[in-house]
């Protein structure tokens, strides 16, 4: 028995180690490359630690429009997420707490919208944005990104609101609180952690988006961070230093946000299906 549990431990930790190496090596390689000089990057024998740390990769980024790209992404993600969370919260409240005709059909269509992939919608959305003259600007992105964030946020918030017992609300209403009042001063504070996680998730969805940005925006100054990164490849020439530096910068905000919300991950990712 003793031996068996030791060998079991060995198997577990060895598997864990292999998984960690597979998951983290590419990320380490990105970080490692971002601090290397151009000469060291193209050395035929890759070095596993930069021989001399340089900021060249990062410096080159800021000679271009990269800061502008970061700003555009930030503005778009922030505005879209705020807008989405506010209107999704109202819909989610209605769906989870009120009885009305067509409730099932509506929650089903929201889940449908959540699962509908971008590759099916990118042409209709491109045409919509061009038809109303918003192509080539971050306004066009602000119009269409909620198609990603609203169904997602609504679906998430329905799950959170359902975890709040109806009795709390009923008690408040017996005490004379109106619907609006209970939503504002009872439900929202209780759902705050879930709202924060949903907001952060929406933000990272917009921040990482590429396909819609690719078809909607072609003007340099309106490009988002993902487009800014892909623009660094000119033909077959890859400037790996700046590209990896830019990748690190693009990853940092989402990693930080993720660290704050990792405990909400389970319910978040599996859209309430797993409980």
């Amino acid at each position: 028995m003793e031996n068996k549990s030791v060998s079991k431990q060995v198997v577990i930790y060895v598997t864990l180690a292999i998984m960690l190496v597979c998951a983290l090596f590419p990320l380490y390689w990105m970080l490692n490359t971002s601090f290397k000089s151009q000469g060291e990057i193209y050395n035929m024998t890759p070095s596993f630690w930069p021989k001399k740390l340089t900021w060249d990769g990062y410096r080159k980024l800021f000679e271009k429009d990269f800061l502008l790209n970061v700003r555009n992404s930030f503005v778009v993600s922030l505005i879209v997420s705020l807008f989405s969370i506010v209107i999704s919260m109202l819909a989610a409240y209605a769906i989870s707490k009120l009885k009305f005709r067509g409730r099932n059909a509506i929650s089903k269509s929201i889940l449908y919208a959540y699962l509908m992939p971008r590759s099916v919608l990118f042409i209709p959305l491109y045409m919509l944005v061009s038809a109303i003259g918003l192509s080539n600007s971050i306004w066009g992105l602000m119009l269409i990104y909620p198609t990603i964030t609203i169904p997602y946020a609504t679906w998430m918030l329905i799950s959170y609101f359902k975890t709040i017992p109806d009795e709390i609300e009923e008690a408040a209403m017996i005490d004379g609180c109106s619907r609006g009042r209970t939503l504002w001063s009872i439900i929202l504070p209780l759902a705050a952690p879930g709202m924060a996680a949903t907001f952060i998730f929406s933000f990272t969805l917009c921040w990482s988006e590429y396909l819609y940005a690719l078809v909607v925006v072609t003007k340099g100054t309106e490009k988002t961070i993902t487009l800014g990164l892909s623009d660094m490849i000119v033909g077959d020439v890859f400037a790996w230093g700046p590209l990896m530096g830019g990748s690190i910068i693009a990853s940092i905000p989402v990693i930080i946000m993720y660290l704050f919300t990792s405990k909400y991950m389970v319910s978040g990712m599996t859209v309430g299906g797993v409980k």
């Binding site: 079991k8 598997t15 960690l20 597979c22 998951a23 590419p26 390689w29 990105m30 193209y42 890759p46 999704s88 109202l90 819909a91 209605a94 009120l98 009305f100 509506i106 089903k108 269509s109 929201i110 889940l111 919208a113 699962l115 509908m116 992939p117 971008r118 590759s119 099916v120 919608l121 990118f122 042409i123 209709p124 959305l125 045409m127 919509l128 198609t147 609203i150 169904p151 799950s159 359902k162 990482s208 590429y210 990164l229 890859f238 590209l243 990748s247 990853s251 989402v254 990693i255 993720y258 990792s262 991950m265 389970v266 990712m269 599996t270 859209v271 309430g272 299906g273 797993v274 409980k275």
Partner: protein, 288 residues
Amino acid sequence: MRLDNKLAYLLMSPVLIYLLAVMLLPFGWALYLSFTDKTVGMSAHFIGLGNYLDLLKDATFWKAVKNTIVFTVVAVILKSVFGMIMALVLNEKIIFRNVFRVLLFLPWTIPTIVSVFTWQWIYSDVGGVLNFLLLKTHAIGRPLGWLAEPNLAMLSVIIVNVWRGIPFMGIAILAGLQSVSKEMYEAAMLDGAGAVKRFFYMTLPSVKEVTILAAVMTTIWTLNDFEIIWLLTRGGPNNGTQVLSTLSYTLGFLNMSLGKAIAIAILTMPPLIILINYVTKRSLSSRD
């Protein structure tokens, strides 16, 4: 509870109006355009099923269908298997479990485009670390063109998709595992059931639902993966990694034939609807 129709519709109206205006109507318009010869900048003429018939006669389209199926099936199987392993390991009592959990989820959190570039650099034939490591350990005899040879290119794009997708499967299955009762296991161990038996007769059945649900959702996303393939290979070499999403983009935005590009998106709808229906049915029933 009494019906709150009015209030409910009022609260939902912003979301419903938005989704109607920005998803449903454009989609309906696109459906109409798939029956026209619409090109970028030109007006559309009705051509009936022309686009669809052209596609069905087009060898590249069928190649893309085949590639989409291969890409999706292989990637989803690999993600499910590795996700299961990850969940089983993280479900054990290990030191720093939460730290490892966070670290293992990192590939899923970073933007897709970032992971694609990182892998592109790893695959690179000039200075790429993958060839270097494999040559050094004598696993391969000559440097391989990871993105340049059709079969290898398919493997390479699958690897990136799998690398990114394992954490989703892992976390979903882990959630399922954590709801399995410990008593049941202890009873089974007392009865002398070995680890393998316990896995197949107890663990697997209890996480079956979750695993299938997560796998179906993963299938929807994998089926429509655009970024990884587009950025790594542009569907090449020689259409070796051309999938429906990249073909649709190529036809619509490089060849300017929007009508045909939309027709591809429409053709992917039936399987998609079946999959989405499955998820909605499961999710809605487990919720109420």
